[in-house]
């Protein structure tokens, strides 16, 4: 079985993002970029499937500008076999990405697609679901456990009320939640080896996908600053203050 893992280049989780002065976007000049943490979990899960003999090949794919090859190399260093870079300098929204991934799924005859449940920049939580719909595949989202047996994926999902277990006929789409696994570190020799692994490049046009954005961003703003708190001297004062605020 071939496993396809989608990885996204995003601003690193440790960076405090800042809105550009012209309010068009977040300023990404020279800030650290990384693989989306949920995608890292997806890569780790795929590699574990390969290590346990269930997956024959792990392919990482990313769509975007040339710089996202860095994240593909990171996936290769973690243990993926090869990478596909779908080149596009356009702003790629979830539907466009899902369509691009759908093409790759068809071309590569994929048995299982693993994606992060969402990316930490857009926080959309849409691409996996859209891909499943486009490809006509069953989906197991927010996975905290995945077991593959007898041509089926048994996925434990993190839902509001607790955990839900579902069985999916392969091929299927799985999106990862935080507790699925803890990704490994890439070792230095594996980072060196990853430089020699193949990265195929293809453009969105060559895949015949219209990636034009369906949504436009009007303005980006900082969240409102939190008003400073005030100190009260006693419980009575606290209750009075809460009443004034209309909380009690």
């Amino acid at each position: 079985m071939k496993v396809l893992v989608a990885v996204k280049r995003v601003v690193d989780a440790s960076v405090q993002v800042r809105v550009k002065a012209d309010k068009t976007a977040v300023d990404l000049a020279n800030v650290k970029m990384s693989m989306n943490p949920f995608c890292e979990i997806a890569v780790e899960e795929a590699i574990r499937l390969k290590e346990s003999g269930i997956a024959e090949e792990v392919i990482v794919v990313s769509a975007g500008e040339d710089a996202c090859q860095e994240q593909l190399r990171a996936g290769l260093a973690l243990g993926a076999d090869r990478a596909i870079h779908i080149q596009s300098d356009a702003e790629l929204q979830p539907l466009a990405v899902a369509k691009l991934l759908h093409k790759v799924v068809d071309q590569e005859n994929i048995g299982l697609v693993i994606l992060g449940k969402q990316s930490i920049d857009g926080d959309n939580n849409q691409t996996g679901q859209m891909l499943a719909a486009l490809a006509g595949m069953p989906q197991g989202t927010f996975a905290s456990n995945v077991v593959i047996e007898n041509g089926e994926a048994v996925v434990t999902r993190e839902v509001d009320g607790g955990l839900q277990q579902i069985g999916l006929k392969l091929p299927a789409v799985v999106t990862t939640d935080l507790r699925l696994n803890e990704p490994r570190y890439a070792s230095l020799p594996n980072i060196m080896k990853a430089k020699r692994k193949p990265v195929a490049q293809i453009t969105a046009e060559e895949l015949g996908v219209d990636v034009a954005p369906r949504l436009s961003t009007l303005e980006v703003n900082d969240p409102p600053a939190r008003a400073s708190g005030k100190r009260v001297g006693s419980v009575v004062e606290l209750i009075d203050a809460l009443k004034v605020e209309g909380v009690l």
């Binding site: 989780a13 440790s14 960076v15 405090q16 020279n30 650290k32 230095l188």
Partner: protein, 549 residues
């Protein structure tokens, strides 16, 4: 346990200007000669540039030598200095503009560029990789590997995935030994491995103790109408003069409506009540500075110690199997307050000495003492010689008299003598009760800020559950000695709020180390009066993540 090993011709510790210049120059020579070299650079920051913090005005002399076509290659030096202004701050309100002929020539910046050294390093790393250098960010050189004959044989990268007790977690990955014919140590000021080498090989035998400053810097975005790209302000005096401390500020107008502003506090200050962080915060309220910052927004914050002892404090830079370069040795030219071009030059010279050794089929491991002669013949030595008295004059005679001596020496005539400053910075503190306490104003949240919100802007992150990388030789010293005598100065000299003395709730005190806040400035390792704190590397990729700093 036998650790995994990899062998290279050269291993370089630290992807800063010195290390990357060595790497680039070596590969240039190898490519020209049609030889193959394997060069590996390890960098503790999560990416190249993440831990680089500097003013900075860059003199392009070394860059011209390394990449004469740097402009064409897109080096990020885009803002030439257009105007130099130098001020003496008399108090919190008044300042005197010092005319150009009254200032040392080394402070004139015509032909130099305002730039982010972090971005310069990102660019240098790209050039190095294009030339065939292997760069590994996120891998910290943790220990030195010595050969049986005592030579430096390489370094060992730190283990990843240890918990706070030092036990392996599920994602544990053992470090590796990276062995090399020659290892280059270019960790920057007060590198923890450099410190070990200086002690082990007596590299500082016969030289003055190294002297340091703590630079604290912020990046601001200011209204367009206040912005003058290329304008450079330097100055000294208030607020450090209040406590008879020395140092100086900088304020540079760079591009994109951004300015950098910072204060360097000389770490030989004697009053333990001094807080370099708070000195900087209150300095920003001076009208000369606030006129640019008011209405602006702070974007980033960082701090880093600098080695400024110059030639008098420069240790021997070679030892069997290794070289110590750039600020790790202390090649900064304090009279120019510039270390980038000198660090780069020290790396270029190292490559020139190393290359013939590497292609001579030997096993490496020699003490390349010829470096000293090559260094002596270079402009790097000339300029460090010329400014050898600069810091000592300021330390000995203060800003005014020492400054006047520096004007005479840098502009008119070179003195036939050398001034020495033999008191190490950590030994300069006086007991707290002999010194005037300082009442720092509360930050206003507009121009001045508290430490936590500042550290927040440095994007500092350390994997939470890991061993503390700030080691106390004796765990009792902070409370038994430093607290009663010096009111534990670590609480104040640390610009990231790592060290705190807290009540334990039972009327007793406890000393707390918030190592996850550490911005890797190394000040604690330098200034602790008992020399009881040892800075070691945390897990790779931890620390600040400076953009454009």
């Amino acid at each position: 346990m036998q650790r995994e090993q990899m062998e290279f011709d050269v291993v370089i510790v630290g992807a800063g200007p010195a290390g990357l210049s060595t790497a680039c120059r070596l590969m240039q020579q190898a490519n020209e000669a049609g030889k193959e070299l394997s060069i590996c650079v390890v960098e503790k920051g999560a990416e190249v540039g993440a831990h680089i913090l500097s003013g900075a005005i860059i003199e392009p002399r070394a860059l011209n030598e390394l990449f004469p076509n740097w402009e064409e290659l897109g080096a990020p030096l885009s803002v030439p200095v257009t105007e130099d202004q130098i001020y003496f701050l008399r108090d919190s309100e008044k300042s005197i503009k010092v005319s150009n002929i009254m200032t040392p020539k080394s402070m004139h910046n015509h032909g130099n560029y305002i730039a982010s050294v972090g971005n310069l390093c990102r660019w240098l790393a790209e050039q190095a990789e294009n030339l065939g250098v292997e760069i590994f960010p996120g891998f910290a050189a943790d220990r030195i590997v010595y050969g049986e004959d005592g030579r430096v044989a390489g370094i060992s990268t730190g283990d990843m995935g240890l918990d706070s007790e030092g036990k392996p977690k599920a994602n544990y990955m053992a470090g590796m030994d990276l062995l090399a014919k020659y290892t280059i140590f270019s960790e920057g000021c007060r590198g923890h491995l450099g410190k070990e080498l200086i002690a082990k090989f007596d590299l500082d035998d016969g030289v003055d103790p190294q002297h340091y400053g703590l630079g604290i810097k912020e990046l601001w975005e200011i209204p367009n109408e206040l912005h003058q790209p290329g304008l450079v302000l330097h100055g000294t005096g208030w607020p450090l003069s209040d406590s008879a401390s020395t140092g100086g500020f900088f304020l540079y107008h760079t591009d994109n409506n951004q300015i950098v502003v910072g204060l360097i506090t000389d770490l030989n200050y004697s009053n333990p009540h001094v807080s370099p962080y708070d000195e900087f915060q209150r300095m920003k309220h001076h009208p000369l500075i606030s006129k640019y910052l008011s209405g602006g927004k702070r974007i980033s914050y960082g701090a880093r110690a600098i080695a400024k002892g110059g030639l008098n404090s420069l240790p021997k830079m070679t030892m069997p199997g290794a070289l110590l370069l750039g600020c790790d040795a202390g090649t900064l030219n304090f009279s120019k307050i510039k270390g980038t071009h000198t660090a780069m030059k020290s790396g270029i010279l190292a490559a020139d000495v190393l290359f013939p050794e590497l292609i001579s089929q030997g096993n490496g491991g020699l003490d390349l003492v010829q470096y000293k002669e090559v260094f002596k013949q270079s402009w790097l030595h000339d300029e460090l010689f010329k400014s050898r008295n600069f810091g000592a004059a300021l330390h000995k005679y203060g800003t005014l008299v020492g400054g006047a001596l520096n004007v005479i020496e840098q502009n008119i005539v070179s003195f036939p003598f050398t001034l020495h400053d033999t008191a190490p910075d950590y030994a300069c503190l006086k007991p707290a009760d002999e010194c005037k306490s300082i009442n720092y104003p509360k930050p206003d949240g507009l121009l001045s800020f508290d430490k936590p919100s500042s550290v927040f802007l440095s994007n500092t992150y350390h994997e939470e559950d890991q061993p503390c990388h700030l080691k106390l030789k004796d765990g009792d010293v902070p409370l038994s000695n430093n607290l009663p005598v010096f009111n534990e100065p670590a609480q104040r000299y640390c610009p990231a709020g790592v060290y705190e003395v807290l009540d334990d709730g039972n009327g007793a005190k406890r000393f707390q180390i918030n190592s996850q806040n550490c911005v890797h400035c190394k000040t604690c390792d330098i200034k602790d009066p008992a020399q009881n704190i040892t800075w070691t590397v945390p897990e790779g990729a931890g620390g600040p993540s400076y953009p454009n700093m």
